[in-house]
């Protein structure tokens, strides 16, 4: 059974789904790193908050009698993105902006502190118990069959992949083509110079946090719908995985974050499928170590050229 093509295909689909979620979170890490050179360790918590806002909105909509799934999904998406973006903005404004000119270590420690704070904040408000949710989207299509082994692609998996590709497209367009994107790249390359040509650097950084948080909230929503259960601690492991994905792909690179996310997802899925589920995290992190030994800048990262 393990050696059939159908089994392989099944793991591939699982891996791509998981990888899409990691990729969405990884973009937030990579964008923030790109623009202020700091690892926002609280980003995993932003993802968790996105998942919580989603589940609360679903419950409220259910109480209000909105049961038509596409409408409910769109409302939840908009509400989650908006509210999570506000969290992201506040995080930057309160915790990181005052430290803009301080050593990197200070910002890093603050980020870890914010991560712990946000975890406890949600734990206090929502309690530590698992929050399960009824599956909203069920069903799927059968894509392959071999000797009675049926491989199906669920509608949920399709939605996750389509939404991820669409968001990637939109955000890449923003960065490459729009005025804001150009300003972001300018701040990334030389913040003081960007200010000298009239770019409002603080606002550009805020917008970057807002974009990253909005994407993380989508990942949170997808996670909730896919697994059907969340708790205040999901941000930790997902955050570490997504951070690994960003580093694997080359931190600072948007396509790199997506590629890294997909790779981590695939490694996990295949490892659990062919070896043991218990060591899937070990596998993912070992690949990271190997890549960093041979390509310290990650797969798509550009090496820093020191000027002399």
């Amino acid at each position: 059974m393990q050696h059939s093509f159908a089994y392989f295909l099944d793991q591939l689909i699982n891996g791509l789904t998981l990888g899409s979620i990691y990729g969405l979170i990884a973009i937030g890490y990579t964008m923030v790193y790109g623009i202020i050179g700091m690892i926002n360790f609280a980003h995993g918590e932003i993802f968790m908050i996105g998942a919580f806002i989603s589940i609360i909105t679903f419950l409220l909509l259910g109480m209000a009698g909105v049961t038509w799934v596409p409408l409910a999904l769109i409302i939840v998406l908009v509400v989650a993105m908006t509210l999570t973006a506000i969290y992201g903005w506040t995080l930057e404004r309160v915790a990181y902006r005052p430290l803009r000119r301080s050593p990197r270590l200070a910002a890093l420690i603050t980020a870890i502190g914010m991560s712990i704070f946000l975890q406890n904040y949600v734990q206090l408000l929502q309690s530590a118990r698992n929050k399960p949710m009824q599956p909203v989207i069920s069903g799927g299509v059968q894509v392959f069959e071999q000797q009675g082994y049926v491989v199906s692609l669920s509608y949920m998996q399709m939605i996750i992949m389509v939404v991820t590709v669409a968001l990637m497209g939109i955000f890449t367009t923003v960065i490459v083509r729009t005025t804001l994107g150009r300003a972001q790249r300018a701040c990334e390359q030389d913040r003081d110079m960007a200010a000298l040509i009239g770019v409002n650097v603080d606002r550009t950084i805020s917008l970057t946090f807002i974009m990253g948080a909005a994407l993380a909230s989508v990942a949170g929503l997808m996670f909730l719908l896919y697994y059907g259960v969340i708790d205040f601690y999901i941000g930790f492991l997902a955050g570490i995985k997504a951070f690994t994905a960003a580093v694997l792909g080359g931190i600072g690179s948007l396509p790199g974050a997506m590629l890294g996310g997909l790779l981590i997802g695939l490694i996990e899925a295949f490892w659990s499928g062919y070896f043991t589920v218990e060591y899937k995290d070990v596998a993912a992190f070992s690949i990271l170590v190997l890549v960093l030994i041979f390509r310290p800048t990650g797969l798509l990262g550009k090496p820093d050229i020191e000027k002399v």
């Binding site: 804001l180 300003a183 790249r185 390359q189 000298l196 009239g198 770019v199 050229i305």
Partner: protein, 302 residues
Amino acid sequence: MSAAESYGAPAAEVPGGGRALLTVEHLTMRFGGLVAIDDVSFQAAEGRITAIIGPNGAGKTTVFNCLTGFYKPTVGRLTLHHPKGEFLLERLEGYRTAQKASVARTFQNIRLFPRMTVLENLIVAQHNKLMRASGFTAAGLFGLKVYRDAEAKAMDLAKYWLDHTKLTEQADVEAGNLPYGDQRRLEIARAMCTEPVLLCLDEPAAGLNPRESHDLNSLLRYIRNEHKIGILLIEHDMSVVMEISDHIIVLDYGRKISDGTPEAVRNDPAVIRAYLGQEEHEELPPEIIAGAGTADRSPDDA
């Protein structure tokens, strides 16, 4: 209407002529116990090239840093007589200096956006204009007409400066990969794309060969004559300074030692002393050193 009336600044004519664009009054910048600039006052005129010269460490770049909001002066007022009104530059911070007061600057060590193309460097310099036109990016994302028009205009301005800095051929090259001389010109082109009223150039001729330096002279003259903006120039290359400046200010150890037309400055004993006697300063009689600090100040400075 001149600065003199509204702010009680020195009523003196700006040496080299022209309407005063920038009035610097009693600028002092201290870093702890170090006095980098000590009570410097001068004016720079519109449509003129004003050079700030002086030996290394005289405080020239510090003046620029005060003008462009990098430093907050310890004492002093920096008034920009912008067509849109008067701006006190010492109160503007960071991006507002460029956005509101239209002051642009280049650096001694080139600071382009190295991983953007030459053209993108010029487009990003028009950020504020495009940001307004694009309704903070929303209109840009959906490709609305307002934004496309603004973008076309931005492109025209970028092409204009590409032409005038002879960089059209390299428009799509990453700025970091340009040869040194081209990078220097691109910095000036990018500064001009912000449509400044005052352009501050920090050693634009540094590292240029004689031909490039000659081209730079023509470019700066072109900017002065055609665009009528004020140019403030820090430069060590005297062939550039003497050839194109209308007005020269000489700093030494943070003090202004001379201020006038190129001829006046060239023959000023204080300047000659500062340049030739730089190494032996300590052996000079104290009254000469003291004299060097005050001898050539305009009377209203006292």
